[in-house]
Symmetry: C2
Amino acid sequence: MTIRRARWAVGLISGTSMDGIDAALVQIEGPGDRPKVRLHAFQTFPYPPAIRNQLLRVASGSATSAREISTLNFTLGQLFADATLAVCHQGRVAPRKLTVIGSHGQTVFHQGPSTRSGSKHPGRTSQSSTLQLGEAAVIAERAGAPVVADFRAADMAAGGQGAPLVPLVDYLLLRHNKLGSVALNIGGIANVTVIPAGAGLQEIFGFDTGPGNMLIDGLVRHFTQARRIYDEGGKWAAKGKLLKPVLNRILRLPFFHHPPPKSAGREQFGDKFLTHYFLSQRKAEPADLIRTATEFSVRSIADALRRFVFPRAEIHRLIVSGGGAHNEFLVDRIRDLLPELDLYRSDKYGLPADAKEAIAFALLADRTLQGLPGNLPAVTGARRGVILGKISRP
Amino acid sequence: MTIRRARWAVGLISGTSMDGIDAALVQIEGPGDRPKVRLHAFQTFPYPPAIRNQLLRVASGSATSAREISTLNFTLGQLFADATLAVCHQGRVAPRKLTVIGSHGQTVFHQGPSTRSGSKHPGRTSQSSTLQLGEAAVIAERAGAPVVADFRAADMAAGGQGAPLVPLVDYLLLRHNKLGSVALNIGGIANVTVIPAGAGLQEIFGFDTGPGNMLIDGLVRHFTQARRIYDEGGKWAAKGKLLKPVLNRILRLPFFHHPPPKSAGREQFGDKFLTHYFLSQRKAEPADLIRTATEFSVRSIADALRRFVFPRAEIHRLIVSGGGAHNEFLVDRIRDLLPELDLYRSDKYGLPADAKEAIAFALLADRTLQGLPGNLPAVTGARRGVILGKISRP
């Protein structure tokens, strides 16, 4: 079924930072393989602190129970439904007018096939799995509209990493006939999509470069007892000095030398990492640790482009999105290290930096309803393009 | 979309007994609201003991982790896919010829709205949730056919108990213009569907009556160190004598006096119950405990019919299915206590007792693909009929 008429859709995601739910209300026009999208309303709905703490605990590998996972799945479903109704209200669109809601849900566990860096069991792919919470049936019931959710499982079932999934949307919205582009999303984790000039779908690739804001946010939370949750504009980092031995030690980790496809998450760069490499530096000033964590993200991004991207494609533009796009210090440092690229925020292309991922899942859901594949095998490592997600009807 | 042509479907379920996966290959003809179904192949695939033990542990409320739940979900997905391919092979139908696979999955947690008996928080419905494992994307990928899974969530999102779901299928396949019927399924839990003579959909009701084989099986496993997993033909029970004080004590529990709709699971009648009421009787003979557990199932079923069914509908036939239909002692005792009913095994109606639940989920999946509701609000307590399950496309 190909839909061309203008249609309303909502995209929902809570990222690895687990701060809250990003909800984007968009209007999509044109066929699923050549869509135009316009952001109509966007809002972030912070999680209640008790829920966030619960999620952080569950995702950190702490003991939980089937009851807790089940209850949390339905509770998050209600919160994702709340976010849907609120962003529709903001945009003055009745929820039941939505053609589709694409809900990424909240990842509490993700592990790609064991071929990826750091695995202790190369070749044992059966351990690969992913778990997103936020019951889609609850969202469908309360919104009165179809929901596509659980986007990562189908790609993993086809042998892929289940991530990243935004690259197809980057391709659809950012491709250019003459200019080679890298779309860089700096969320908890940072990832890139490489779109060579005039590229077809098969030439797109992308991967996670490592931490984005995850370590910076973790340090800010730690040193402010969670009164602040991110380093606004990078001002705190700007006051610190770089701890070179720490930086050099972590940049030597195998993840950064492993060629793509590769994906990263809280499993690698979460609290354990933070404690082991940063909080163990008991004599270091907070500003120095935040500066070093920021430089770690910057260097891992720049190194990844030089190692794995520039040898394969001529790149002219770097288009930055995600919460990290607001960290001026971080973005300036990326510009310093990659002076040959023109650097823009994704806002310039109708994709506000904060809203891009949520917009992406609205578009991926639109593709699923139309029976179009949503993964890029060259990006995720899957054997083939597959229809992502599961459809719940109201 | 209404489909009338003959179509192949597979139904998959592992019940509360967690013994293994029942897989039914069926041919369905006619529209979704008036289907004819023919069982073409059926097989039960026992879980590997390590998986079963892991499931029992997770479902019992023991500590687990997001990693374990996620991994188990994908591992079970592979086992459900194995079962699909094997039953298709047995029936000589290529898996990709299937119109749909209906996979119930494995319940590891289920709690209906708190209005049900035994809840400590009446009115707090937000705790209602359900969790089935067995990743549908893995089944869809390996079979190359659409999968409908996660049938219970939509009913619960609409305020229902999420169970029982088989009554609609009982209605479709067992209704009779002149005879009032009760379909009794004796799985781990026992449930009834009441189909008054000439009834329309709105007059159907049903509920869980309490334990079916769960306690009997638990005792047999306990006393044989799991060398045997059920009481074949009820021979062990037949040798024992009834412990009336134990029976009377448990029959007084509020669950049995609570009017339908109501649902039960391992949460109420699992290992904790077994230990508390049965294994604590240290002086009792194994045969006496098994006899008493059997009588407990029999009495709770017969009492439920007398209390909640006969006052509402004239019943002529009792049609028995599930593993308990093979327990001759148990079935004879039901016949003793309900002499006014004609008692048959569901086999007589083309629904082999062991295969009925698996067949039911093939039919429910067929309805979902056609956009037809699959729950009965009068049975589950939901506010309305809803389309059950989530669709994964290969």
